[in-house]
């Protein structure tokens, strides 16, 4: 922004030509967008953690030496359990989305989840950039908002003085 070194008012491309009302509207829109992006960011984080949890479960929970031949309790309802044993610790069913489950070997499942986590990390990185950009925009609008106010206040002050 080149407004700093030039004479006040109407020098910058966009913002300084806007009225206070318009500025407020722009600010609100930016705030909404920013909020939306931040919630998306949090949701992505959550999803990523879920996948990471899956990796740990697959890695540690299914290690044959620990779990075969040992009884586990299978929940039928939240308060009713029946004993059981795992008959297959080599393969797992993985939810791949839209209601489809695919049978995978433990190693493949791990790979699948790792891939998901990686994709999410990339998305998160991109989103982070966008969020940074947006908050910068908000800052700019904010500045020019208080700037406009200063100009108005200044004029009023002049009026009183003369």
């Amino acid at each position: 922004m080149s407004s700093k070194d030039k004479a006040p008012q109407q020098q910058t491309v966009d913002l300084s030509t806007l009225s206070v009302d318009n500025l407020a509207a722009v600010k609100k829109q930016l705030d909404d967008e920013l909020e939306h992006l931040t919630t998306s960011f949090a949701k992505l984080r959550q999803a990523q953690n879920k996948f990471k949890e899956c990796i740990t479960t697959v890695k540690t929970g299914l290690r044959p030496e620990r779990i075969t031949d040992k009884t586990i309790l299978v929940p039928l309802t939240s308060s009713l359990y029946v004993p059981g044993t795992l008959s297959d610790t080599e393969n797992v069913l993985v939810d791949v989305g839209t209601g489809y489950y695919v049978e995978k070997s433990v190693a493949d499942a791990e790979k699948f989840y790792a891939g998901k986590v990686k994709a999410l990390t990339e998305n998160l990185g991109e989103l982070e950039k966008i969020v940074a950009q947006k908050s910068q925009n908000v800052q700019v609008v904010e500045n020019s908002k208080s700037f406009t106010r200063v100009v108005i206040d200044g004029r009023m002050g002049e009026g009183v003085l003369t």
Partner: protein, 122 residues
Amino acid sequence: MAGKVLQDLTDQFQALSKDMSSIVEARQKLDSQLQENKSVQKEFASLADDTKIYKLIGPVLVKQDKSEAVMNVDKRLEFINSEIVRIEKQISDIQGKQERKKMEIIQVQTQLRQDAQAQVGA
């Protein structure tokens, strides 16, 4: 008189805005469905033909042939894409309508202002 017209016009404009936001929401939903189905399609493409695939129907997992599952997802993608085209058209329709209403409103507003000035002058 003109005030009434203006009121009607703004009401219509607001109705259009409401339509717009619900349609945009539908568009976003379609987009997320598209993404999900695409990722499933990609996953299916990397699977061996004899992989066991199950489909969740209610609380039950039902076994399904890979070819059938792939076909199903392909069909869904096709449907979603055509839906997106349809909704995009609706969006541009409403945008056009909004634009026209805006012009009408501005016209009526200037008319009102001129009338007011004429009255003051008289």
